[in-house]
Each structure stands twice: as C-alpha cells, then as structure tokens.
C-alpha cells in the first residue's frame, strides 16, 4: 500500500504543477500578429506611396460613367445596358464605391499626417495635407455637403456630421496654404531628405513641384466657384495669395502623376483598364467611343481624333446597317449612348466595330514615340495633367484673374493637349501639328477653334477644355459642365426610359450612410440628383 501512496503523491504533484502552469502569462503571450502590420510599426513613408497611387487610379479610372454621360465614351453593344446609369435614375447605390473609396484613401493621408507629425517630417505632413484637400474637394464636387470636421476620427465620431460644401472648400484651401508654408520650410532647411523623396512617387521629393501642384489645385477650386458672383472678393484675395507666393502653377510637361516601378505584369491601372491585358490583348470590349466626341472632333477636323481614339478593330462592311450615319473617316466610330441593343438589326455596334480608347497599337513600355491616352504599361497615372493646369491658367487669364496674354494662354493650353497626346510622336511634331491645324481652322473662321473667330472667348476656352479633357479626367469635365450651365451642349442619353431632360448634377449619398449615419445625412435634407446643386453651381 505504500506504493499506492507514492503514486498518489506523484500524481498530486503533477496535477498541482499543471494547474499552476495553467496561468503563466508567458504561455499565453502568443497574440502578436505575425501576419499583418499594426500601427506601431507603420510610418508615413510606408503609407504614402500606396495612398498616392490610389488617388491617381481613382482620377484615371473611376469616372467611366461620367465619360458616358459627357459624350466621351459609350459602352459597346456586347453588354446589357446599365439601366440606372443610362436613364439617369440613379439610386443611393450608384457610385457608392466613390464615397467609400475616397474616404478610405483619405484616412491613409490622415494617418500619414499624424504619423509624420509624430516623427517631425514636414515634407510628409505637407504631402498629406495637399492630398487630403484634393480628396475632400473631390467629395464636395460629387456630393456637396460631406463630413469634414468630424471625419477621419475613427471611433471618436462614429457618426460624423455633414459640413457645408463651401466650408469644406474654404478649409481645404487653408490646408493647401499650410502645406505650402511647410514646403517652403523644407526648402529653407535644405530640401527633402532622400529617403523621404524615394517614397514620393508623384514628384520624387521635389518640394517645389508640390508647391506648384498645391497652387494649381487652389486655382482649380477657385475656378470651380467662378460662376458664383458672391465669391468674387474671396477669389480675388486667394488669387492674390497665390501670386504673392510666387512659385506659380504646373507648366507644360508637368503632370501631377504617379509612377511606381510598373512592369509588364503589373502595369498601371489606366493601361490595364483601357489598353491591354497582361496577355497583350485589348483590355476591354466594354468601353468604346461615343458618337458625340467623335462628331465634335470630326467637325473641327481635329487631328487629335486618332489620339483620343483608336481605329475600330474591324472595318465596317460596305452598306452596313447603322442606326445613324458615321461621318468620314469611318474607321473612327462611336456609339450612341442609351441606344437599346439590337444586334440583329444593327450588328455593327459591338466592340470590334467601334473605336477604343486611343493610344499605342501594341502592348509594351512607354517610349518617346508613344502617343494617345494609353502610352505604355509604365506610363504615369495622373492626379492632374499639365493640360488641365494650362487650361485653368488660360481661363484665369481670360477672366482677368491673372495677368497675361489671353489668346496666347488659350493657344498654349490647346497646344499642351497636342503635346500631352504626343501627336506625331514628338513634342516638336506635336507643336507643328497644332500650328498647322490651328492655322487651317483660323483660315476657315472656325469659332470652335480660332480665338480670333470665337464670338465668346471664354466659351471657346471652355469648349476646347472639354475636348482636351477627354479620357483624362471626366470628373473635372463634369464639374466644368455643371458650373458653366450645361455647356457645351451634349446630347442626352437616348434610352427610352430616361427620366429627365438634364444630366444629373450630383450623386446621391450612399445607402450605407442612410443606414449607418442616418441622422447626420438626413439632416442635409432630401437629395435629388437633378435639382440638389453643388454649392458652387449657380
């Protein structure tokens, strides 16, 4: 029996030791995440490249529906129509990804700003501020009143209130001023640190370009409110600040555009969306040319037609049945937006018989000879193009906000579009092409092109801006259309279910906001996509 007692003791010892072992902290401290990064090991440097790319991809590829509405692009007849988009009877689900995507992206800038402030990185703080201003103004241009003062605070404000669109604009402009001041401080301190510069995929750590970009953004948002007579004194004061600052705006060849190390397998999003897939074939049979822009370009004999668009893959057979006549040159064809698909009566509205988004004819890297919109898998994707900057300056000069030669500024802007598209494969050839086309149209007294012949010079600038914005920033084109009183006249969708005689002037707040932030969003009032204007509209 003594053996038995020994067993008992032994077992008791084992048992007690197991029980006591149960509670040791070390055994349980295995909850450090081995899979994902956490706040403690993330800095602005790791977040900004991704955030910049995200913003550029949104500008470059997220506004296809506006391309349809504004007459640039049109779906091919390979796809069943999107009734909601084509009838303008949009719902609270339409474009909801824009609201969530922009907010999500803006949080990364917010985090970068906080993190850079903690680490004393002025350059990163400034970059984050510029981009936040850009994103919030983009939200206003889509939705008018949006959360701002309580936004981006995580659990602090789970249901952020909506702020007046005008306030968001004014606060954003202040942030741009603050960013410029910080960037000047960086210059004074000897420029951007090389390590920081390496993660600036926009300007490679050139803080002076960031200042120009900030100034150009300010100009953009001032021009957005140009139609509001009650804003003139504000505009004058803000312009004066930009002029006083002295760095000027993005000039010819200066895109605010990003380019991480794209490869053939990881091409840029614009190229992948509208150019070529990884196998080297056409990326989309959905996005095709719209008859409206095709007709405008043909009407003005504009050589850029072959750069905004590509010739159709398959030639239209002789006497092919068409729902409308295609003017010469017939290899450039567009579809009519909203036309019900009837492939048995009109079999040539499918993808291969309609022009694609313009660009190089074969997949590959960008070269000096790459032309059009789609230039190569490693082309930069823009947040703002030099073409837009030049048109903003031309408009400001035309309006007398900035000093300068009005006609020259206008012609420089249009010429910049030729250069940007690399017409005839080089900058000098593009200039020559512009000059010969402009001279010819001038001789033809074409008031749609020639400054001298235009009855309304401002409208000429705006019309040519509309032409030039094709494919590069449809949101800005929509904003121009809205602030200028539905100019230029663009044919509406011919979908029989269309419910309105005007284009929508805004998007509806996403359903998710009505579900989760009900009180705040309903406090804005009932929203109608045709009548609830953006604050800067007349």
């Amino acid at each position: 029996m003594s053996d038995m007692k020994l067993y008992n003791k032994l077992l008791l010892i084992i048992f007690v030791s197991l029980l006591s072992g149960a509670c040791t902290q070390d055994f349980l401290d295995v909850n450090e995440d081995p899979n994902r990064a956490v706040e403690g090991n993330i800095t602005a440097k790791l977040v900004l490249p991704q955030a910049l790319l995200n913003t550029a991809n949104r500008v470059g590829t997220s506004y296809g529906f506006l391309g349809h509405w504004l007459g640039y692009w049109c779906p091919s007849a390979n796809y069943a129509p999107n009734a909601e988009e084509q009838t303008y009877s949009i719902t609270t689900n339409f474009g909801a990804g824009l609201f969530s995507g922009i907010m999500d992206n803006t949080y990364d800038y917010q985090f970068a700003e906080v993190s850079a402030t903690r680490d004393g990185q002025d350059f990163f703080i400034a970059v984050a501020k510029v981009m936040k201003a850009h994103n919030f103004c983009m939200l206003v241009d889509l939705y008018n009143n949006v959360p701002y003062t309580e936004a981006m605070q995580g659990l602090e404000y789970v249901r952020p209130k909506y702020d007046d669109g005008k306030l968001v604009y004014e606060e954003s402009l202040k942030q741009l001023d603050a960013a410029v001041a910080l960037l000047k401080k960086v210059t004074a301190a000897g420029g951007v640190d090389a390590v920081q510069g390496a993660s600036d995929i926009m300007f490679g750590g050139d803080e002076k370009k960031w200042i120009k970009f900030a100034n150009t953004l300010k100009l953009r948002y001032l021009i957005h409110q140009s139609a509001r007579s009650d804003r003139q004194s504000y505009i004058t004061a803000e312009i004066a600040k930009i002029v006083a600052e002295g760095s000027g705006f993005l000039g010819s060849g200066e895109d605010a555009a990003v380019a991480p190390a794209y490869t053939a397998d990881k091409p840029n999003a614009f190229y992948a969306s509208y150019g070529f897939n990884v196998a080297g074939n056409q990326a989309t049979d959905f996005v095709r040319a719209n008859k409206t822009s095709i007709d405008f370009l043909k009407l003005n004999g504009d050589p850029r037609i072959g750069y905004f668009y590509k010739p159709a893959v398959s030639a239209l057979p002789a006497n092919a049945a068409e729902p409308f006549k295609t003017e010469a040159p017939a290899q450039f064809r567009g579809n009519e937006y909203g036309r019900p698909i009837d492939n048995s009566t009109f079999p040539y509205q499918i993808a291969n018989y309609v022009s694609q988004v313009g660009g190089v004819s074969a997949a590959g890297a960008i070269t000096g000879a790459s032309t059009g919109l789609v230039k190569g898998y490693n082309q930069r994707v823009w947040v703002m193009t030099s073409v837009e900057s030049m048109f903003l300056q031309a408009e400001a000069i035309q309006r007398g906000w900035l000093p300068g030669d009005k006609e020259a500024a206008y012609k420089n802007a249009v010429r910049e579009s030729f250069r940007w598209l690399n017409v005839d494969k080089s900058a000098s050839a593009a200039d020559a092409a512009f000059n010969s086309w402009y001279t010819q149209q001038d001789e033809n007294n074409n008031g749609n092109v020639s400054y001298a012949d235009a009855a309304d010079k401002l409208k000429l600038v705006l019309f040519q801006k509309y032409i030039a914005m094709n494919g590069s920033n449809h949101l800005e084109a929509w904003t121009d259309y809205r602030r200028n009183g539905a100019f230029p006249a663009i044919p509406l969708s011919i979908n029989p279910g269309r419910t309105s005689t005007t284009l929508p002037v805004r998007l509806l707040y996403p359903q998710r906001e009505y579900d989760l932030n009900t009180q705040a969003v309903t406090a804005v009032g009932t929203i109608n996509q045709f009548t609830s204007k953006i604050w800067w509209m007349n």
């Binding site: 349980l28 909850n31 994902r36 956490v38 719902t91 803006t106 949080y107 990364d108 196998a279």
Partner: protein
Amino acid sequence: MKKHLLVLLLVAGVLSFGYAQRTITGKVTDAVGEPLIGASVLVKGSTTGVVTDLDGSYRLETPSGTVVLVFSYTGFSTKEVTTSTSNVIDVVLEEGILLEEAIVTALGIQKQPREVGFSVAQIKNEDLTQARVTKLQNGLVGKVSGLNVSTVNNGIGADTRIVLRGIRSLTGNNQALLVVDGTPMPLGFISSINPNDVENVNVLKGANAATLYGPEGVNGVIVVTTKKGDSGSKPQITIGNSTLFERVSFLPEFQTRFGSGSSTNAFGDGIYDPIENQSWGTEFNGKPIQIGQVTEDGKVQEIPYTYLPDEKFNFWDLGQNIQNDVSVKTGDKNSSFFFSVQNVGIRATMPGDKANRTTVRLNAAKTMGIFNVGMNFGYAQQVTDRTTSGNVYWHVVNSPGHIPLTAYKDHLNDYWSNVNNYFNDYYPNPYATIYNYRQDNRNDDFFGNVVVGIKPTKWLSITNRLGYNINSYFEHNINRNILYSDYAIHHRSFASSGEQKASVSDYNYFYTRLNNELVATTEHNVGKLNIKGLLGNLTRQTFSKGTFVSGGNLVIPTLFNVANRTGEPGASSTFSDARLSSVFGSLTLGYNNLLFVELTGRNDWDSRLPADNRSYFYPGASASLIVSDLIPSIAEGKLLSSLKLKGAYANTGNVNVGTYSLQSTFSQAGGFPYGALPGFTADNNINNPLIKPETVKSLEFGAEFAFFNNNVLFDVAYYKQNNNNQVIPVSISNATGFTSALLNAAEFNNWGWEFDLKLLPVIRLGDFTWEVSTNYTFNNSEVLSIYEGLNELGIGNTSFAIVGYPAFVHKLKDWLRTPDGRIIIDPLSGYPQQNPVNTIFGNTNPKHIFGLNTDFTYKGLALKVVAEYRGGNYIFNQIGQDADFTGVTKLSGTNGRQRFVFPNSAYSNDGGKTYINNTDIVIKDAHYSFLQASAFRAVQTNYYSSAAFWKLREVVLTYNVPAKLLGGGRYVKGASVSLVGRNLLMFRPKTNEWTDPEFSNTTGNAIGLTSLGQTPPTRIFGFNVNLTF
C-alpha cells in the same frame, strides 16, 4: 410502487433493529449467459453494495430479513429482486430500455439519465448509419429535437451547418462543438469520421449540458464515441458494401416558349439572335434556324427551333457513391481492440468531379490492476478532383431552350463544341468551363489520443487524456490555356480579349492541435447522500500555417508549376497560434437516488483575449428530481410509469474573437510592392484592445415522462438564452475612415421548446412491430439592442439583426406599396415602382423543425423511414434573380411577355393621397425592357419565398438473413441486405419555383440565400450488403 415504500420502511426497520447479517451470493449475466463484470449490486435504500467480479459473481453482506437488491449495469435495465429465503440470487439483466441507458455528458462522463438536469440525446450507430451516409452529420438529421443540420450546397465537399438550439452569436460561430472520444476537435473533422466507426453520438443540446467545456460548449456539443472491442467477446469481423447513386432531383421552373435574343422590335416582340445567351427572342416555331455565327470555314449550324425540355437536366451526371468497409473487433477480460478500414469512392453529378476517402481506425484499451490505458487512432485521407468554376450551373441555366446543350460535350474535338465555333458569343461551353478550371486537393486528417487512468482507491480515479490532431491540406488549382483562332478574336465577343494564358496556384495548410486534459474524479456515499467531485485541467495549443503561391502566364501551357511562369509570382502566408488553459470542477450531490444537484465552474485563460481580461470564470448549476420516486403514488396507475423534472442554469462566455484581433492592422495594397517600394494601407476594421467574450446566460427546464410501463416516452424541454456583449464588427460610416469597428455591443434572447415522443411498439402483432418516434423543435429569438444609435446590423447577404425582430430577418428591395399592400404603379407607363428603402421581411432561421422516425419490422425484414419538416423561415432565391437576367425562368415568361395589368396594383391621381385599384392600365412594354432591364429584377421580393419543406430524408428496407440460411452461423454469423434511399421526395410551397431552400449559402450566419453558385439538389438511392463473421 407502494410496495417499494413498504420495503423502504421495512429496511429502515431492519436497520433500526440492529445489524443482523446475512450473506447473499450469486451471478449476474446477460441474456445469453455471458457474465457481466462490474455490475453493481446494491441493497436498496442503503449504501451497502458490491460490484461483480470477473465471473459476474458477487458476495454481499445484507441485513437479515427481507431486503430489495438493485442490480444495475451500464447499458442494461436495472432489476430489483426482493430476497426470499434463498441466499443465492442469480440475475439475468436485459439490454436496457432507452430511459435507463447511460448517457455521455461533458468530458466523457457517463451518467444515468436520472442524474442529468439538462437535455442530452443519444443516437446509436444503427440509427446513424442506416441510410449509409458518408458524413456522420447527415445521419443525425431529423433524429433529435433541437438539432438543425443543413447542407448548404450540393456536390463534392459541400459544407454542412450544425446548429443546436438556434443561435447565440450574431456574427460569430454558432455551430456545435465536436468532441471525439473525449477530446474536443475542430468541427470540420466530423466529415473525416467514418460513420460506421461510431458507437453512438450524444448530443448535449445547450450550454447547460456543456458548462464544463466553458465557452467552447456554449453552442452545444456533439459527443462522438467510437467503437471499442467488446471485452470477453470472440473476434468479430464485419464487411460491408454500399453502392449508392445520386441524381439531380429538380431544377428551377423554366419558360418554354421563347428562344435566344436580347431585344425587342417596334411592336414589343422579341427578336431572334443566333449568338445570344439570353432568351428574349421569338417564340419557338419548330422550323430550322441558325444558331451561332457563320464560322471561319463558312459553315452554319442549323437546328429546329423547338424547346428541348430535358437538356438542362441531362447535363448532370448520375453520381455514384461506393463504400467498402471492413472492421474487426475483439477483446478479453482486460483488453479490447477495434480496427476498421473504409473506402468511399464518389463521382459527383457535376460531370468529371470525383473524390475518394479512406479512413482507418484503431481503438485499443487495456486494464492492468489499478491502471488502465487506452488509445484511439483515426486517420482519414480524402483526395478530390473538381472544377473550381462557380459558373457551371449559371452557364447551364442560361443556355436557351432550343440549344442541344448535351451535344457539346466533346469540346476538344467536336466542330460545333470547340472554343472557336460554340454558338454562344458571350458565355463559354459549360463542358469546356468544367475542363478549364480544375482543382486537385488532398486532405489528411490524423487524430489520436492516449488515455492513461489510475484508480488508486475505490473513491478516486485520475485520468489523463492527451489528444493530438494534425490536418494537412493541399490544393493545386489550374486554369488551362484557352487559345482562340485569329478569326475568333476578331469576330467573337468572348474571344476579343485574346488568348487566356494558363495559370496555377498552390495552397498548403497545416494545422495541429494538442489537447491535454487531466481529470480527477471522486465518489463517496454518506448515508443517503451520494457525492461526486471532479477537478480538471485543460491545456491546449492550436497552431496553423497556410501558404499560397500562384503564377500566371505559364510559359509551357500544360506544365502547371509556379516555376513555369513569367512575371512575379503571387505569394502569401498566414500563421495562427492560440493557447488555452482551463481549470474546471464540478460537484454532484445525489440524495437517495432521486434528487440530484450539480454545480460546475470553469476558469479559462485564453491567449486571444487582451492580457488584462483574458481570465474568465463560468459557473453553472443543474438539478433533477425523480418525482415518481419521491411520490410513488403518482406512478401507481398503469398510465404513468415515471416522471422526472429537470432544470439547469449556466453563465457562459463565447470567445468569438479570432487570433490577433486586438490591434488595428495595415496591409500592403494590391500591386505593392513595386520593386523596392512598399505601400501599406489601413485595413478597414478598427480592432479593439479591450474586447471581452460574449456572455450567454442560459436557462432550461424540462420533464421526462414515461407512460404505459415505459412504452411511451415523452420529453419536453424549454430553454431561454440571453446573449449579451456580442462581439460584433459594428458597421460605421465610411467617413470615419473605416467601415467597421469591433465592439462589445448588441443583446438578444433566444428561446425554444423541444418535444420528443417515442412510441415503442405502437403495434405489436406477432412478429410484426411498428415503432414511431417524433421530435419537434420550436426556436425563436428577438434582438434587444445593437449599438447606441444603431438599430440594425447587416451580417451579410440580405440578413439583418434588427431590434425588435428575430435574428435574422431579410431586408429586401420591394415595390412601393399602398398602406394596404397593393403595388403602386405609374399610371402613365403601368410600370410598378421600386421602393428606394429596403423593407424588413421574414426570418432566416427555421422556427419549426419536426422529425418523424418510424420503424416497421417483420421477422428479418425492417423498414425504417425518416422524414423531416422545417418551416417558419424564408429565403431569398437569388438564383431566380440571376436566371431572370437571361430570360429562361418561368417568371421571365410572365403573360407570354405581352402587355399585362400588373397584379395587385394600384395608382394615385392625387399625389399619393388616395389610391385606385388598377384593373386596366397595362404595362407599357412587358417584354425585355420590363422583365429584364427595369427595376423588376432588382426587386428582390419577386424572388422571396417560404423556405419550408418536407423531406423524406431516409427510407431503408433491410432484410436480415436468418441464421439457418447462413449455415447455423458457424462461419457467417450475420448477413443483411438493404435498399437505401435518401432525400427521395421533397415537398415545398408553390411559391418556391427555384431550388432546395435548405441550400442556404453558408455555414456562417448569413443564411437564407440561394444562388447559381450552388448546384442543383439531388436524390440518393442504392443498396447495402453487410456480412459479419
């Protein structure tokens, strides 16, 4: 029963008159004369007793005079014998009737039913496996109350959802815990168990039954006990074969009038389109018609323009399921041995999909004096070859009615079936899809446990159970190269993106779980008080690692290796490491074998929780009272034989927190890194460093009645669970910068009734007997709160938790309706109008489940039938919404696509003040532009239906070959032949035109949705032969 009271008085009298002694000896055997070792012999009303020895013999000192001896043995009915003058009492015990069978509760503790204060149900092997299921869980369906096993899809590797007593967590896990031979296992392991190896399954229905498991047991427990060799039996060898066939049982209802097209002419009639996948064309007319484009060779395919009714049905193969089984069991006085091998070969209804599972099991145990050692080893290997395309059913369904779909099987050789010439310009040949997107996977499951026990004294036993489980899973996915001719690239829509390069991805997953339990139990009698104590410790370590690699653009199109690629490979890996320590104990007090009270407590330390609050204590209590023993007079008549009352309460947690869920995280965004440039983005969920477990307070009451000499058994139980501090990712405004935040919020109640009624023989006429058992479960819930300022929580699909409603309800897009429910139309166009605000509809979880089991036996013949009803829930048939897009469904043929008055509609001429019944305004255009391109399809209520069904789950006709035909059982001891059918019939409401509503999308909580990603329902039939040597 009055007699017993008398005896008690007598015993008391005897005891009080002094301790005159008498020695009684005897032997306890079973019906065939085998000795019962360790049977208990007790002087009734006292603590005096012994157990039988290895020969079944006993020797007991009793008070002199007449006493009642109680003979009992696990699995046998208890027998009481009043002593007479003889000092030798031999007893034969009968295999027990159900009421007295020992049941297995938490930690493998066996208890007599009378001791148990909560609901436990036992299902024995013969009931589990009668219909030759390949998955154990399918054998549980319809057999006990409170249990809901749903097959969420069909086809190979289809998942099942196993839920007991409704739900306790809004967004977390609600599935039951699986315990195999005493060791808790991941639930998925249940599919790797050979059902024939299972001795029985005990279902611990609620948290109350499982308090000793702590948070893990909150959803109830499926306790699986595998077979052991019988001690003292001769070697027994069983071989069996089952051959089953599986056939698609039904498809959605289709329109049969219109062929391909996607537009209408000026008169609003469909236009025929030879290359369309959609069916919005002209009416069938039987005349020859062109399908597809003119090919490169100038050829045209021409077929009659006639509806072919069987093509979509014949697309699916006749499935096969062949099971072969061998098992051996043997044992002697001190050891037992069980060994089995099973192979299951499966060919699915999806053409070309197949799987093969082999399981091996070895269970052995040995007793050596005060020590006992046991081991259970199981190994399962399954290899599967299946298509990864979720679009096959979709491609089949949207094939226009006149297309001879099954003629395109030979897609590699046949001219009209090949990739360049297939008629459809938008979707590929489904046979080619099956071929082009494939997966080979292999799943290896090893599970073993070693049990070492010691019983140093009569009142103490200590057992250590070390369980180890390894899962290794490997998956090889290939997308084949699709090469189009140049002509096709220029002329065919689907080919316009050009060649699809071959690609490959591999996934490896490794999982281990070590689970050690040390448990000491003690039992002591003090007078009429029986005291049982238990103290235990659990240590668990779970580790998993997954690695994924992929490569696109394979250089050699037929070499599916990641190394054979251009460009960057895709690669990712995930690790998970979780640990758990627990201390638990219970104290059971039994008074006079008629009142039992059990107190339990468990403290957990869980590594997944924040360090400051990772320690949690969970108490529980239960009690049972044998009223019929307390007040024998109530069981005096013939009607009531016994009555037991029971009740239990438990306060448990539910740790629905994954590993690494405390800190907000950042991930590399898609595309990054670009060369040396990394790019991180904040993930969308705000994690919470203060998160706590959910709390579940669970209360249950019940009664067990036995009538007519234990021939009618009736159990009733009521339970209510209050579930609070739910760990939920609360959706928050995107303007916060995030989409959700992990918070402790939300509270809901969940309650229900369970009834089990057994009629042991309803009829017994000579050799004919008929038995019936039924069970009924009612379950409901109500959401009490979500989160401050938030009244609802979307949990995925169309399922929502909304305050004041059951969890969960559908929220669906509906038409605009008048206050009395009529659909508002636009008086100009006749079009009904979509309500911009989604509307709350019925619940997703069934409220009523009714199971019916009935057995008929006549001599060697037995017919067993299991039927099940589920109802009170609703389903959104997205399958209909999808299929309407292409105009193939019955609904898309409404009114022959001619203009019609929208049913049950009304309109207003005064801006909505009053409504006029619409009897004459027809829809402006009731064809394509309405049924497909308008809001009609977006309105989800068009596809909303009751999810109720009756299913004939199992029908089994067995013939047990009589011994005399087997040569007196000298070589072959038993033989049986069965005809087996499963899911032979299903009845559902007429409003459900689409599919089996049991297919509810997910093993998670967002059930109540069918889609074309699922495959059609099937019925299974075949035969089984079993031989015992």
